[in-house]
Symmetry: C2
Subunit: 296 residues, 2 copies
């Protein structure tokens, strides 16, 4: 039985892996350059390590409307040369195997649901806070897709411009959540990358405030049973406790459940799979592609 | 075959109905007073018009965790005498029939899904803008419940206090969406009820702005295939066109789909059932209670 392939297609790197799960996975990483060059590396990788099917968790936005003639293509990304790229189609045609595709965060949510921090819940939110901010929601055991797919980083949040005059870094919306709280926003606001900002710097309380505003909105909208947050920015050790406290302050006792009270540490939690949620979730997409259910 | 009963349990009135759908429904309305007095009226109504089962779409928040010992009870409502009220339990015991319960907006969403403006979509948002603001979301054909249930009115939205110094009317969160844009907020901000505010008053553009901020957040979070908006405030004829335009302005072309472009009039739409979405949806809850699936 041939193994499955997973691709985490990110804006700066592509992670390709072959395996069956967290304990059986070999991976390689390529820089994201042009679609042509990047795909050549991907196809060579899987040519050398044959698989039954491939799953792709991709940056986006993607066209995921099942009825669309451009299903699977990347749409309004600021990375212009990738606009319109038919990632799953190209890979499937080159390798002759079924390829399933979904957003990077939806793939990561699938990974966490199967092997990670959301194994025991059917309704949860996976969030990543890195260069950008994205979220994948599972409701009743199924990924939320709807009209297109969620673009959670782009929700609007309160922004006190007297306190934080930074105008926001999102080219579409200025001070949406991603515009205020992504790694890119942190670096532009403070002039240094998040990884080089000290623990006692006010950047972290401000970051926790914006992230908690997003979480409060998602708690009120999706009522998740758990919130799993990955991404490079979350590696800062003060952030999780600050975000949990600020979320409780913002909700102010309105949503009554132990998860938002004494059990908050378990409610807002890092991924169980570390940085591998996405590529492992891509294996779940590959498995579904085998079964013919495509990206769903 | 006995018919089904539906109750729309609101903060100011209870609508009780017996029937099988929009073309076969007889209803009566009671003022919401004390739990004891109100329930007495409800029970007398169904005593005189026997039904197989009853569905209740109730104001809340409600405890809807299936595993909870206080399932079905009203929790942190500002109407103190209703806190802890076991609406479905009391009615079921008094009448000896199964009773299903869910939030008022979830019931309305079920009504719109069965007979109204969302018959053809499996992923949509039902929103009501009246005394308060609430929302019910259907994802993949199922109501979103999760940890508790959504409390959509309480999402946080940007609030420019220089432009709109009104501090917000929500006792829990001040200027959450409900605090800024409910009928209560409109009346407090301008000193007159929404129903008496003229068409050319700046209140309507401000209202459309806040509602569109909420919709933009929900489009980015749930990616609904339709947004159905009911409630007294939406009866103002200028509001739908203003909200649609403002939603498009806020999304700024980021979510690419005809629904958010040329088809916006169909995307953001009034309920198909007018003011009867809730009580008709309660019939769907009754039907489910018959089948033993409770509130789900």
């Amino acid at each position: 039985m041939k193994r499955l392939g997973g691709i985490e297609a990110g804006g700066t790197k592509f992670v390709c892996a072959v395996g069956t799960g967290p304990d059986d996975l070999s991976a390689a990483t390529f820089d994201t350059t042009t679609p042509w060059e990047t795909l050549r590396g991907v196809i060579r990788f899987f040519h050398d390590s044959p698989v039954r099917a491939i799953g792709v968790g991709s940056f986006g936005p993607l066209d995921l409307a099942p009825e669309s003639p451009t299903f699977g293509r990347i749409t309004s990304t600021p990375k212009l040369e990738w606009q319109g790229c038919d990632l799953s189609g190209e890979i499937s045609r080159a390798l002759g195997v079924p390829v399933g595709i979904d957003t990077d965060v939806n793939a990561a949510a699938l990974g966490e649901a199967r092997w990670g921090a959301a194994r025991d819940v059917s309704d949860f939110l996976y969030l990543t806070v890195g260069t950008g901010i994205g979220g994948g929601a599972v409701v009743g055991g199924r990924l939320v897709h709807g009209l297109v797919h969620p673009e959670m980083g782009h929700i609007r949040v309160p922004h006190d411009v007297d306190f934080d005059p930074f105008p926001g870094a999102c080219p579409y919306h200025g001070d949406c959540l991603e515009g205020l709280a992504s790694g890119t926003a942190i670096e532009r606001r403070w002039g240094v990358p998040a990884s080089r900002i000290e623990s006692d710097h006010p950047a972290w309380e401000l970051e926790a405030h914006y992230l908690a505003l997003g979480l409060a909105t998602w708690v009120c909208t999706l009522s998740p049973r758990r919130i799993v947050i990955g991404g490079g920015v979350m590696r800062h050790r003060r952030l999780f406790p600050l975000v949990r406290l600020e979320l409780q302050r913002l909700l102010n006792g309105y949503v009554r459940n132990p998860a938002l009270g004494p059990d908050i540490d378990r409610y807002v939690t890092p991924p169980g799979l570390g940085e591998r949620s996405g590529v492992l979730g891509a294996l779940v997409l590959a498995e579904r592609a085998c079964l013919g259910s495509g990206a769903r």
